[in-house]
Protein backbone atom coordinates (compact mmCIF):
# COMPACT_ATOMS: atom_id res chain seq x y z
CA UNK A 1 0.00 0.00 0.00
CA UNK A 2 1.71 3.18 -1.17
CA UNK A 3 1.04 6.86 -0.89
CA UNK A 4 -0.88 6.96 -4.15
CA UNK A 5 -3.30 4.30 -2.92
CA UNK A 6 -3.82 6.14 0.34
CA UNK A 7 -4.55 9.39 -1.45
CA UNK A 8 -6.99 7.63 -3.74
CA UNK A 9 -8.71 5.94 -0.78
CA UNK A 10 -9.07 9.27 1.02
CA UNK A 11 -10.44 10.91 -2.12
CA UNK A 12 -13.11 8.19 -2.33
CA UNK A 13 -13.94 8.64 1.35
CA UNK A 14 -14.56 12.35 0.79
CA UNK A 15 -17.04 11.41 -1.92
CA UNK A 16 -18.74 8.74 0.21
CA UNK A 17 -19.09 11.18 3.10
CA UNK A 18 -20.69 13.71 0.80
CA UNK A 19 -22.93 10.99 -0.56
CA UNK A 20 -24.13 10.04 2.93
CA UNK A 21 -24.73 13.70 3.71
CA UNK A 22 -26.74 14.10 0.51
CA UNK A 23 -24.29 16.75 -0.62
CA UNK A 24 -22.92 15.08 -3.70
CA UNK A 25 -22.84 17.28 -6.79
CA UNK A 26 -23.69 15.67 -10.10
CA UNK A 27 -20.00 15.76 -11.08
CA UNK A 28 -19.04 14.00 -7.90
CA UNK A 29 -21.85 11.48 -8.29
CA UNK A 30 -20.45 10.54 -11.68
CA UNK A 31 -16.97 10.09 -10.18
CA UNK A 32 -18.22 7.99 -7.29
CA UNK A 33 -20.36 5.84 -9.58
CA UNK A 34 -17.47 5.35 -11.93
CA UNK A 35 -15.30 4.15 -9.06
CA UNK A 36 -17.96 1.79 -7.66
CA UNK A 37 -18.59 0.23 -11.07
CA UNK A 38 -14.94 -0.11 -11.93
CA UNK A 39 -14.81 -3.59 -10.39
CA UNK A 40 -16.79 -5.85 -8.03
CA UNK A 41 -14.20 -5.35 -5.31
CA UNK A 42 -14.89 -1.59 -5.24
CA UNK A 43 -18.61 -2.23 -4.97
CA UNK A 44 -18.02 -4.57 -2.04
CA UNK A 45 -15.84 -1.95 -0.32
CA UNK A 46 -18.49 0.70 -0.86
CA UNK A 47 -21.25 -1.45 0.58
CA UNK A 48 -19.17 -2.21 3.63
CA UNK A 49 -18.37 1.47 4.07
CA UNK A 50 -21.96 2.63 4.20
CA UNK A 51 -23.03 -0.11 6.59
CA UNK A 52 -24.48 1.79 9.51
CA UNK A 53 -23.52 -0.71 12.20
CA UNK A 54 -19.98 -0.94 10.98
CA UNK A 55 -19.64 2.87 10.94
CA UNK A 56 -20.99 3.21 14.42
CA UNK A 57 -18.83 0.50 15.89
CA UNK A 58 -15.76 2.10 14.30
CA UNK A 59 -16.71 5.43 15.78
CA UNK A 60 -17.45 3.85 19.17
CA UNK A 61 -13.92 2.41 19.17
CA UNK A 62 -12.48 5.95 18.88
CA UNK A 63 -13.50 6.63 22.46
CA UNK A 64 -10.97 4.17 23.82
CA UNK A 65 -8.41 6.94 23.32
CA UNK A 66 -8.15 10.02 25.49
CA UNK A 67 -7.37 13.06 23.36
CA UNK A 68 -6.94 15.68 26.14
CA UNK A 69 -4.47 13.51 28.08
CA UNK A 70 -2.48 12.78 24.94
CA UNK A 71 -2.45 16.43 23.94
CA UNK A 72 -1.06 17.36 27.32
CA UNK A 73 1.66 14.76 26.98
CA UNK A 74 2.59 15.92 23.50
CA UNK A 75 2.75 19.52 24.70
CA UNK A 76 5.44 18.57 27.14
CA UNK A 77 7.32 16.81 24.42
CA UNK A 78 7.07 20.00 22.40
CA UNK A 79 8.52 21.80 25.38
CA UNK A 80 11.56 19.58 25.14
CA UNK A 81 11.88 20.16 21.42
CA UNK A 82 11.70 23.83 22.14
CA UNK A 83 14.50 23.54 24.67
CA UNK A 84 16.75 22.25 21.95
CA UNK A 85 15.74 25.06 19.63
CA UNK A 86 16.33 27.73 22.26
CA UNK A 87 19.98 26.70 22.50
CA UNK A 88 20.67 27.84 18.99
CA UNK A 89 19.02 31.22 19.50
CA UNK A 90 20.67 32.24 22.72
CA UNK A 91 24.05 33.68 22.26
CA UNK A 92 25.23 33.91 25.85
CA UNK A 93 26.84 30.56 26.61
CA UNK A 94 26.53 30.87 30.39
CA UNK A 95 22.80 31.35 30.36
CA UNK A 96 22.43 28.79 27.64
CA UNK A 97 23.69 25.96 29.77
CA UNK A 98 21.50 26.82 32.71
CA UNK A 99 18.46 27.45 30.57
CA UNK A 100 18.73 24.18 28.72
CA UNK A 101 19.24 22.32 31.98
CA UNK A 102 16.35 24.07 33.66
CA UNK A 103 14.04 23.41 30.74
CA UNK A 104 14.98 19.79 30.88
CA UNK A 105 14.27 19.65 34.56
CA UNK A 106 10.91 21.31 33.96
CA UNK A 107 10.13 18.79 31.25
CA UNK A 108 11.12 15.86 33.39
CA UNK A 109 9.06 17.28 36.22
CA UNK A 110 6.19 17.61 33.82
CA UNK A 111 6.54 14.05 32.63
CA UNK A 112 6.59 12.89 36.18
CA UNK A 113 3.42 14.81 36.76
CA UNK A 114 1.70 13.27 33.77
CA UNK A 115 2.48 9.84 35.07
CA UNK A 116 1.23 10.71 38.49
CA UNK A 117 -1.79 12.49 37.06
CA UNK A 118 -1.84 14.89 39.96
CA UNK A 119 -2.64 11.95 42.24
CA UNK A 120 -0.18 12.59 45.03
CA UNK A 121 0.84 16.09 44.22
CA UNK A 122 3.85 17.23 46.22
CA UNK A 123 3.65 20.97 46.20
CA UNK A 124 0.15 21.91 45.06
CA UNK A 125 -2.84 21.77 47.30
CA UNK A 126 -6.24 22.60 45.91
CA UNK A 127 -8.54 23.73 48.70
CA UNK A 128 -11.33 24.95 46.49
CA UNK A 129 -11.54 24.73 42.66
CA UNK A 130 -8.55 24.59 40.41
CA UNK A 131 -8.05 27.74 38.33
CA UNK A 132 -8.76 27.65 34.63
CA UNK A 133 -6.44 29.63 32.37
CA UNK A 134 -7.49 32.94 30.83
CA UNK A 135 -9.35 33.04 27.54
CA UNK A 136 -10.39 35.50 24.84
CA UNK A 137 -12.44 38.14 26.62
CA UNK A 138 -12.77 41.84 25.83
CA UNK A 139 -15.20 44.75 25.95
CA UNK A 140 -15.50 47.42 23.24
CA UNK A 141 -16.65 50.83 24.45
CA UNK A 142 -18.09 52.98 21.66
CA UNK A 143 -17.72 56.76 21.51
CA UNK A 144 -21.22 57.16 22.93
CA UNK A 145 -20.28 55.09 25.96
CA UNK A 146 -22.15 51.97 24.89
CA UNK A 147 -20.36 48.74 25.85
CA UNK A 148 -20.25 45.63 23.66
CA UNK A 149 -18.81 42.27 24.67
CA UNK A 150 -16.46 41.11 21.91
CA UNK A 151 -16.58 37.65 23.43
CA UNK A 152 -20.32 37.25 23.00
CA UNK A 153 -20.73 39.18 19.74
CA UNK A 154 -21.58 36.98 16.77
CA UNK A 155 -19.34 37.28 13.70
CA UNK A 156 -20.45 40.10 11.42
CA UNK A 157 -20.96 43.81 11.94
CA UNK A 158 -21.21 44.41 15.65
CA UNK A 159 -21.48 48.19 15.86
CA UNK A 160 -21.38 51.38 13.85
CA UNK A 161 -19.68 54.47 15.16
CA UNK A 162 -19.03 57.78 13.39
CA UNK A 163 -18.50 56.84 9.75
CA UNK A 164 -17.15 53.36 10.38
CA UNK A 165 -18.54 49.93 11.25
CA UNK A 166 -16.83 47.48 13.58
CA UNK A 167 -16.65 43.94 12.28
CA UNK A 168 -15.91 40.69 14.09
CA UNK A 169 -14.54 37.96 11.82
CA UNK A 170 -15.12 34.24 12.26
CA UNK A 171 -11.60 33.81 13.69
CA UNK A 172 -12.39 36.47 16.32
CA UNK A 173 -10.31 39.28 14.84
CA UNK A 174 -11.81 42.76 14.93
CA UNK A 175 -11.54 45.31 12.14
CA UNK A 176 -13.12 48.49 10.76
CA UNK A 177 -14.83 49.20 7.50
CA UNK A 178 -16.37 52.30 5.99
CA UNK A 179 -20.01 52.64 6.83
CA UNK A 180 -21.61 53.01 3.46
CA UNK A 181 -25.13 53.29 4.81
CA UNK A 182 -25.21 56.14 7.29
CA UNK A 183 -22.32 58.56 7.16
CA UNK A 184 -22.92 60.77 10.12
CA UNK A 185 -20.52 63.66 10.37
CA UNK A 186 -19.27 64.91 13.67
CA UNK A 187 -16.83 67.64 14.57
CA UNK A 188 -15.43 66.32 17.82
CA UNK A 189 -13.18 63.27 17.58
CA UNK A 190 -14.88 60.04 18.55
CA UNK A 191 -12.86 57.64 20.73
CA UNK A 192 -13.30 53.95 21.28
CA UNK A 193 -11.69 51.72 23.88
CA UNK A 194 -11.12 47.98 23.94
CA UNK A 195 -10.49 46.55 27.40
CA UNK A 196 -9.53 43.04 28.45
CA UNK A 197 -10.22 41.91 32.03
CA UNK A 198 -7.70 40.01 34.14
CA UNK A 199 -7.86 36.42 32.87
CA UNK A 200 -8.67 37.66 29.36
CA UNK A 201 -6.86 38.61 26.17
CA UNK A 202 -7.75 39.60 22.63
CA UNK A 203 -5.49 38.21 19.90
CA UNK A 204 -6.14 40.57 17.02
CA UNK A 205 -7.60 44.00 16.53
CA UNK A 206 -7.04 45.96 13.36
CA UNK A 207 -7.40 49.69 14.00
CA UNK A 208 -9.02 51.95 11.37
CA UNK A 209 -5.56 52.80 9.94
CA UNK A 210 -4.61 49.12 9.45
CA UNK A 211 -2.36 48.89 12.51
CA UNK A 212 -2.68 45.52 14.26
CA UNK A 213 -2.70 45.17 18.03
CA UNK A 214 -2.87 42.27 20.50
CA UNK A 215 -4.06 42.85 24.05
CA UNK A 216 -2.83 40.81 27.02
CA UNK A 217 -4.86 40.26 30.20
CA UNK A 218 -5.90 43.37 32.13
CA UNK A 219 -5.03 45.76 29.30
CA UNK A 220 -6.68 48.41 27.17
CA UNK A 221 -6.27 50.58 24.10
CA UNK A 222 -8.09 53.86 23.37
CA UNK A 223 -8.04 55.28 19.85
CA UNK A 224 -9.96 57.70 17.67
CA UNK A 225 -12.44 56.10 15.30
CA UNK A 226 -11.04 58.36 12.57
CA UNK A 227 -7.33 59.11 12.47
CA UNK A 228 -7.36 62.68 11.19
CA UNK A 229 -4.81 65.45 11.57
CA UNK A 230 -1.04 65.27 11.71
CA UNK A 231 -0.64 62.20 13.91
CA UNK A 232 -2.27 58.92 14.88
CA UNK A 233 -2.48 59.00 18.66
CA UNK A 234 -3.58 56.08 20.85
CA UNK A 235 -3.30 55.38 24.59
CA UNK A 236 -2.68 52.01 26.23
CA UNK A 237 -2.52 50.34 29.62
CA UNK A 238 -1.25 46.88 30.57
CA UNK A 239 0.54 44.94 27.84
CA UNK A 240 -0.01 45.54 24.15
CA UNK A 241 1.77 44.28 21.05
CA UNK A 242 1.77 46.61 18.03
CA UNK A 243 2.32 46.00 14.39
CA UNK A 244 2.04 49.52 12.99
CA UNK A 245 1.15 50.35 9.44
CA UNK A 246 3.68 52.93 8.39
CA UNK A 247 2.61 56.37 7.22
CA UNK A 248 5.38 58.99 7.24
CA UNK A 249 2.88 61.81 6.79
CA UNK A 250 0.97 60.77 9.89
CA UNK A 251 3.23 59.26 12.55
CA UNK A 252 1.82 56.75 15.03
CA UNK A 253 2.17 57.76 18.69
CA UNK A 254 1.34 55.74 21.78
CA UNK A 255 0.76 57.37 25.15
CA UNK A 256 1.51 55.06 28.06
CA UNK A 257 1.71 56.42 31.59
CA UNK A 258 3.93 59.48 31.25
CA UNK A 259 5.71 58.28 28.12
CA UNK A 260 5.16 58.86 24.45
CA UNK A 261 6.30 56.15 22.08
CA UNK A 262 6.62 57.13 18.47
CA UNK A 263 6.80 54.59 15.76
CA UNK A 264 8.49 54.70 12.45
CA UNK A 265 6.81 51.64 10.84
CA UNK A 266 7.34 48.79 13.13
CA UNK A 267 6.57 45.91 15.49
CA UNK A 268 6.94 46.51 19.19
CA UNK A 269 5.67 45.37 22.58
CA UNK A 270 4.75 47.63 25.48
CA UNK A 271 4.58 46.18 28.98
CA UNK A 272 3.18 48.80 31.36
CA UNK A 273 1.33 46.79 33.99
CA UNK A 274 0.82 48.79 37.17
CA UNK A 275 2.20 45.99 39.32
CA UNK A 276 5.42 45.67 37.31
CA UNK A 277 8.53 47.52 38.37
CA UNK A 278 9.05 49.34 35.09
CA UNK A 279 7.46 50.26 31.78
CA UNK A 280 9.25 48.22 29.14
CA UNK A 281 9.08 48.95 25.43
CA UNK A 282 10.73 46.35 23.25
CA UNK A 283 11.39 46.77 19.55
CA UNK A 284 11.06 43.66 17.42
CA UNK A 285 11.32 45.23 13.96
CA UNK A 286 11.70 48.72 12.47
CA UNK A 287 12.39 51.71 14.67
CA UNK A 288 10.71 53.51 17.58
CA UNK A 289 11.54 56.32 19.93
CA UNK A 290 10.51 56.59 23.57
CA UNK A 291 10.16 60.00 25.22
CA UNK A 292 9.38 61.12 28.74
CA UNK A 293 9.82 64.70 29.93
CA UNK A 294 13.25 65.59 28.61
CA UNK A 295 14.35 62.00 28.11
CA UNK A 296 14.42 60.69 24.58
CA UNK A 297 15.81 57.36 23.34
CA UNK A 298 15.69 55.69 19.96
CA UNK A 299 15.58 51.88 19.84
CA UNK A 300 17.10 49.54 17.31
CA UNK A 301 15.55 46.06 16.81
CA UNK A 302 16.14 43.74 19.76
CA UNK A 303 16.53 46.60 22.22
CA UNK A 304 14.33 47.35 25.20
CA UNK A 305 13.70 50.74 26.83
CA UNK A 306 13.29 50.30 30.58
CA UNK A 307 11.64 53.10 32.50
CA UNK A 308 11.80 52.12 36.16
CA UNK A 309 9.26 53.44 38.63
CA UNK A 310 10.84 56.39 40.41
CA UNK A 311 13.71 56.73 37.97
CA UNK A 312 14.12 59.78 35.79
CA UNK A 313 16.29 58.08 33.22
CA UNK A 314 15.18 55.66 30.55
CA UNK A 315 17.70 52.84 30.23
CA UNK A 316 18.38 50.88 27.06
CA UNK A 317 19.26 47.19 27.12
CA UNK A 318 19.36 44.15 24.87
CA UNK A 319 16.06 42.30 25.25
CA UNK A 320 15.37 38.59 25.40
CA UNK A 321 12.81 38.65 22.60
CA UNK A 322 11.55 35.13 23.23
CA UNK A 323 10.66 36.20 26.75
CA UNK A 324 9.04 39.47 25.69
CA UNK A 325 6.69 38.07 23.09
CA UNK A 326 6.01 34.69 24.73
CA UNK A 327 2.60 35.87 25.99
CA UNK A 328 1.52 36.54 22.43
CA UNK A 329 2.44 32.96 21.51
CA UNK A 330 0.48 31.47 24.39
CA UNK A 331 3.44 30.89 26.69
CA UNK A 332 4.85 31.93 30.01
CA UNK A 333 8.56 32.40 29.49
CA UNK A 334 10.92 32.95 32.37
CA UNK A 335 14.58 33.81 32.14
CA UNK A 336 16.10 33.74 35.62
CA UNK A 337 12.89 35.09 37.09
CA UNK A 338 12.20 35.32 40.80
CA UNK A 339 9.01 33.91 42.26
CA UNK A 340 7.28 37.29 42.50
CA UNK A 341 7.81 37.94 38.80
CA UNK A 342 6.31 34.55 38.00
CA UNK A 343 3.39 35.05 40.35
CA UNK A 344 2.56 38.51 38.95
CA UNK A 345 1.99 36.91 35.56
CA UNK A 346 0.06 34.02 37.09
CA UNK A 347 -2.13 36.45 39.02
CA UNK A 348 -3.08 38.40 35.88
CA UNK A 349 -3.70 35.36 33.69
CA UNK A 350 -5.65 33.28 36.21
CA UNK A 351 -7.28 36.38 37.71
CA UNK A 352 -6.24 35.59 41.27
CA UNK A 353 -4.69 37.30 44.22
CA UNK A 354 -1.39 35.96 45.49
CA UNK A 355 -0.47 35.87 49.16
CA UNK A 356 2.84 34.88 50.68
CA UNK A 357 2.92 33.07 53.99
CA UNK A 358 6.14 33.76 55.82
CA UNK A 359 9.24 34.55 53.78
CA UNK A 360 9.06 34.88 50.04
CA UNK A 361 11.01 31.88 48.80
CA UNK A 362 14.16 32.75 46.86
CA UNK A 363 14.03 31.09 43.46
CA UNK A 364 15.59 31.36 40.04
CA UNK A 365 13.14 30.14 37.41
CA UNK A 366 13.97 29.60 33.76
CA UNK A 367 11.77 27.85 31.24
CA UNK A 368 8.56 27.94 29.26
CA UNK A 369 5.10 26.78 30.24
CA UNK A 370 1.92 26.89 28.17
CA UNK A 371 -0.63 29.47 29.26
CA UNK A 372 -3.41 27.04 28.32
CA UNK A 373 -2.70 24.88 31.37
CA UNK A 374 -4.64 25.02 34.59
CA UNK A 375 -2.95 26.83 37.46
CA UNK A 376 -2.25 23.61 39.37
CA UNK A 377 -0.45 22.20 36.33
CA UNK A 378 1.77 25.26 36.04
CA UNK A 379 2.76 24.90 39.68
CA UNK A 380 3.29 21.21 39.23
CA UNK A 381 5.86 22.04 36.55
CA UNK A 382 7.61 24.11 39.21
CA UNK A 383 7.80 20.89 41.20
CA UNK A 384 11.51 21.02 41.85
CA UNK A 385 11.26 24.30 43.72
CA UNK A 386 10.99 24.12 47.47
CA UNK A 387 7.71 26.00 47.43
CA UNK A 388 4.13 25.07 48.29
CA UNK A 389 1.19 26.50 46.39
CA UNK A 390 -2.28 26.37 47.88
CA UNK A 391 -5.20 27.26 45.61
CA UNK A 392 -8.21 28.47 47.57
CA UNK A 393 -10.92 29.91 45.34
CA UNK A 394 -9.55 33.11 43.82
CA UNK A 395 -6.54 33.09 46.14
CA UNK A 396 -3.17 31.44 45.86
CA UNK A 397 -1.14 31.08 49.02
CA UNK A 398 2.58 30.56 48.58
CA UNK A 399 4.68 29.05 51.34
CA UNK A 400 8.38 28.36 51.61
CA UNK A 401 9.08 24.67 52.25
CA UNK A 402 12.36 25.40 54.00
Amino acid sequence: MDEKQIKEALRIIDLVARYLNAQLSSDEAVKLNEWINRNPENRRVFEQLINENRLESTHAAFHAFDTPAALQKVKFRKLELRAIKVQSIWSRPGILKYAAAALLILSIGAYFFINKRLAQSQNVQIVKNDLSPGSNKAILTLSNGKKISLTDAKPGIIASDANLVVKKNTNGSINYENNTVASEYRDEPAYQTITTPRGGQWPQIELPDGTKVTLDAGSSITYPVVFSGSERRVAVTGQVYFSVKHNAAQPFRVTVKDQIIEDIGTEFNINAFDDETAVRTTLIEGSVSVSKNKEHVVLTPGQQAVDRVGNEQIRLKEANLAEVIAWKNGLFHFDHADLKTVMRQVSRWYDVQVFYEGQIPKTDITGEVYRSMKASQVFEVLNNLKVNFRIDGKKIIVTDKN
Binding site: E3, E56, T58, H59, A64, F65, P68, L71, R77
Partner: protein, 200 residues
Protein backbone atom coordinates in the same frame (compact mmCIF):
# COMPACT_ATOMS: atom_id res chain seq x y z
CA UNK B 1 -11.31 21.14 26.03
CA UNK B 2 -10.42 19.11 23.00
CA UNK B 3 -13.30 18.66 20.59
CA UNK B 4 -13.24 17.14 17.14
CA UNK B 5 -14.40 20.16 15.21
CA UNK B 6 -14.36 19.64 11.48
CA UNK B 7 -11.24 21.23 10.02
CA UNK B 8 -11.37 23.98 7.50
CA UNK B 9 -8.54 25.14 5.29
CA UNK B 10 -8.72 28.79 6.20
CA UNK B 11 -8.54 28.28 9.93
CA UNK B 12 -5.57 26.01 9.49
CA UNK B 13 -3.58 28.34 7.28
CA UNK B 14 -1.76 29.59 10.39
CA UNK B 15 -0.75 26.03 11.22
CA UNK B 16 0.75 25.51 7.80
CA UNK B 17 2.36 28.94 7.71
CA UNK B 18 3.93 29.15 11.15
CA UNK B 19 3.02 26.12 13.23
CA UNK B 20 0.48 28.04 15.28
CA UNK B 21 -0.29 26.48 18.66
CA UNK B 22 -4.09 26.62 18.59
CA UNK B 23 -4.22 25.31 15.05
CA UNK B 24 -1.97 22.43 16.08
CA UNK B 25 -4.40 21.57 18.86
CA UNK B 26 -7.23 21.54 16.36
CA UNK B 27 -5.34 19.20 14.06
CA UNK B 28 -4.39 17.01 16.99
CA UNK B 29 -7.92 16.87 18.38
CA UNK B 30 -9.45 16.13 15.02
CA UNK B 31 -7.12 13.26 14.10
CA UNK B 32 -5.95 11.75 17.39
CA UNK B 33 -8.72 9.24 18.10
CA UNK B 34 -9.26 8.00 14.54
CA UNK B 35 -5.52 7.65 13.94
CA UNK B 36 -5.14 5.72 17.21
CA UNK B 37 -7.94 3.42 16.17
CA UNK B 38 -6.30 2.93 12.77
CA UNK B 39 -2.90 2.25 14.34
CA UNK B 40 -4.34 -0.14 16.91
CA UNK B 41 -5.86 -2.21 14.12
CA UNK B 42 -2.36 -2.67 12.72
CA UNK B 43 -0.27 -3.17 15.84
CA UNK B 44 -3.03 -4.73 17.99
CA UNK B 45 -1.85 -2.84 21.04
CA UNK B 46 -3.51 0.42 22.13
CA UNK B 47 -0.43 1.76 23.96
CA UNK B 48 1.89 1.26 21.02
CA UNK B 49 -0.81 2.77 18.81
CA UNK B 50 -0.93 5.91 20.92
CA UNK B 51 2.87 6.26 20.88
CA UNK B 52 2.92 5.95 17.12
CA UNK B 53 0.21 8.54 16.64
CA UNK B 54 1.74 11.04 19.04
CA UNK B 55 5.06 10.71 17.23
CA UNK B 56 3.55 11.28 13.83
CA UNK B 57 1.50 14.28 14.97
CA UNK B 58 4.61 15.85 16.50
CA UNK B 59 6.43 15.21 13.26
CA UNK B 60 3.64 16.94 11.36
CA UNK B 61 3.94 19.89 13.71
CA UNK B 62 7.70 20.14 13.15
CA UNK B 63 7.22 19.99 9.40
CA UNK B 64 4.16 22.20 9.31
CA UNK B 65 5.37 24.20 6.34
CA UNK B 66 5.63 21.08 4.19
CA UNK B 67 1.86 21.02 3.94
CA UNK B 68 -0.28 23.35 1.95
CA UNK B 69 -3.66 21.80 2.44
CA UNK B 70 -5.55 19.64 4.92
CA UNK B 71 -5.57 16.83 2.36
CA UNK B 72 -1.78 16.67 2.12
CA UNK B 73 -1.49 16.73 5.90
CA UNK B 74 -4.11 13.99 6.16
CA UNK B 75 -2.39 11.61 3.78
CA UNK B 76 0.94 12.29 5.51
CA UNK B 77 -0.63 11.28 8.83
CA UNK B 78 -2.29 8.09 7.61
CA UNK B 79 0.78 7.12 5.62
CA UNK B 80 3.06 7.79 8.59
CA UNK B 81 0.93 5.76 10.98
CA UNK B 82 0.74 2.86 8.56
CA UNK B 83 4.52 2.84 7.98
CA UNK B 84 5.33 3.14 11.67
CA UNK B 85 2.83 0.37 12.43
CA UNK B 86 4.43 -2.02 9.96
CA UNK B 87 7.94 -1.08 11.11
CA UNK B 88 6.87 -1.99 14.60
CA UNK B 89 5.45 -5.33 13.44
CA UNK B 90 8.62 -6.07 11.46
CA UNK B 91 10.68 -5.37 14.52
CA UNK B 92 8.46 -7.59 16.66
CA UNK B 93 8.68 -10.26 13.96
CA UNK B 94 12.47 -10.14 13.97
CA UNK B 95 12.45 -10.37 17.72
CA UNK B 96 10.12 -13.34 17.89
CA UNK B 97 11.99 -15.18 15.13
CA UNK B 98 15.15 -14.52 16.99
CA UNK B 99 13.72 -15.72 20.26
CA UNK B 100 11.78 -18.77 19.20
CA UNK B 101 13.01 -19.41 15.70
CA UNK B 102 9.46 -19.56 14.46
CA UNK B 103 8.38 -17.28 11.69
CA UNK B 104 6.24 -14.47 13.05
CA UNK B 105 2.63 -14.67 12.19
CA UNK B 106 1.42 -11.76 10.17
CA UNK B 107 -1.76 -10.62 11.80
CA UNK B 108 -2.78 -8.01 9.23
CA UNK B 109 -2.90 -8.12 5.50
CA UNK B 110 -2.02 -4.98 3.58
CA UNK B 111 -5.30 -5.12 1.68
CA UNK B 112 -7.28 -5.13 4.93
CA UNK B 113 -5.47 -2.02 6.03
CA UNK B 114 -6.85 0.04 3.18
CA UNK B 115 -10.39 -0.89 4.14
CA UNK B 116 -9.73 -0.07 7.79
CA UNK B 117 -8.28 3.26 6.77
CA UNK B 118 -11.40 4.06 4.77
CA UNK B 119 -13.73 2.97 7.59
CA UNK B 120 -11.78 5.11 10.02
CA UNK B 121 -11.72 8.27 7.99
CA UNK B 122 -15.37 7.96 7.03
CA UNK B 123 -16.45 7.56 10.66
CA UNK B 124 -14.20 10.49 11.56
CA UNK B 125 -15.77 12.79 9.02
CA UNK B 126 -19.33 11.76 9.70
CA UNK B 127 -19.20 11.83 13.46
CA UNK B 128 -16.89 14.74 14.17
CA UNK B 129 -19.79 17.15 14.52
CA UNK B 130 -21.49 15.17 17.29
CA UNK B 131 -18.28 15.41 19.23
CA UNK B 132 -18.58 19.19 19.28
CA UNK B 133 -21.76 19.16 21.35
CA UNK B 134 -21.75 20.11 25.04
CA UNK B 135 -20.78 17.11 27.16
CA UNK B 136 -24.15 16.19 28.63
CA UNK B 137 -25.86 16.56 25.26
CA UNK B 138 -23.24 14.45 23.59
CA UNK B 139 -23.59 11.66 26.13
CA UNK B 140 -27.35 11.58 25.71
CA UNK B 141 -27.14 11.64 21.93
CA UNK B 142 -24.54 8.90 21.88
CA UNK B 143 -26.34 6.63 24.29
CA UNK B 144 -29.63 7.14 22.50
CA UNK B 145 -28.46 6.70 18.95
CA UNK B 146 -25.23 4.77 19.08
CA UNK B 147 -25.97 2.43 21.92
CA UNK B 148 -29.71 2.37 21.24
CA UNK B 149 -30.65 2.93 24.89
CA UNK B 150 -34.13 4.03 25.95
CA UNK B 151 -34.55 7.38 27.72
CA UNK B 152 -35.10 5.62 31.07
CA UNK B 153 -31.89 3.62 30.63
CA UNK B 154 -29.90 6.72 29.68
CA UNK B 155 -31.36 8.51 32.70
CA UNK B 156 -30.34 5.68 35.01
CA UNK B 157 -26.82 5.56 33.58
CA UNK B 158 -26.24 9.30 33.88
CA UNK B 159 -28.08 9.67 37.17
CA UNK B 160 -30.52 12.27 35.85
CA UNK B 161 -34.27 12.34 35.28
CA UNK B 162 -35.97 11.10 32.13
CA UNK B 163 -37.16 14.60 31.31
CA UNK B 164 -33.56 15.85 31.47
CA UNK B 165 -32.59 13.16 28.99
CA UNK B 166 -35.39 14.19 26.64
CA UNK B 167 -34.49 17.86 26.97
CA UNK B 168 -30.83 17.19 26.27
CA UNK B 169 -31.75 15.06 23.30
CA UNK B 170 -33.88 17.81 21.78
CA UNK B 171 -31.22 20.40 22.56
CA UNK B 172 -28.52 18.31 20.93
CA UNK B 173 -30.52 17.70 17.80
CA UNK B 174 -31.47 21.34 17.57
CA UNK B 175 -27.83 22.41 17.94
CA UNK B 176 -26.82 20.02 15.22
CA UNK B 177 -29.58 21.18 12.90
CA UNK B 178 -28.73 24.84 13.54
CA UNK B 179 -25.08 24.33 12.81
CA UNK B 180 -25.88 22.53 9.63
CA UNK B 181 -28.19 25.12 8.16
CA UNK B 182 -26.17 28.09 9.42
CA UNK B 183 -22.74 27.14 8.35
CA UNK B 184 -23.13 24.54 5.64
CA UNK B 185 -20.52 22.48 7.37
CA UNK B 186 -19.87 20.42 4.30
CA UNK B 187 -18.64 17.01 5.23
CA UNK B 188 -19.59 17.46 8.81
CA UNK B 189 -23.18 16.23 8.86
CA UNK B 190 -23.21 13.05 10.81
CA UNK B 191 -24.38 9.72 9.57
CA UNK B 192 -26.19 9.53 12.83
CA UNK B 193 -28.40 12.44 11.96
CA UNK B 194 -28.73 11.16 8.45
CA UNK B 195 -30.04 7.89 9.74
CA UNK B 196 -32.14 9.08 12.62
CA UNK B 197 -33.33 12.62 12.31
CA UNK B 198 -36.29 11.68 10.20
CA UNK B 199 -37.79 9.20 12.63
CA UNK B 200 -37.93 11.31 15.77
Amino acid sequence: MATRLPLNEQELSSFFAKGDETAFERVFSYFYEPLCYFASQIVKDPFTAEDIVQDILLKAWQRHNNFERVSSLRSFLYMGVKNAGFDYLDHQGVKSRHESNIAAQLTVQESDILQILMDTELANQLFSLVDTLPEQCRKVIRMTFEEGLKPAEVAAKLGVTVSTVNNQKMRGLKLLKDRLTDEDLGLALTALIFFHLTNI
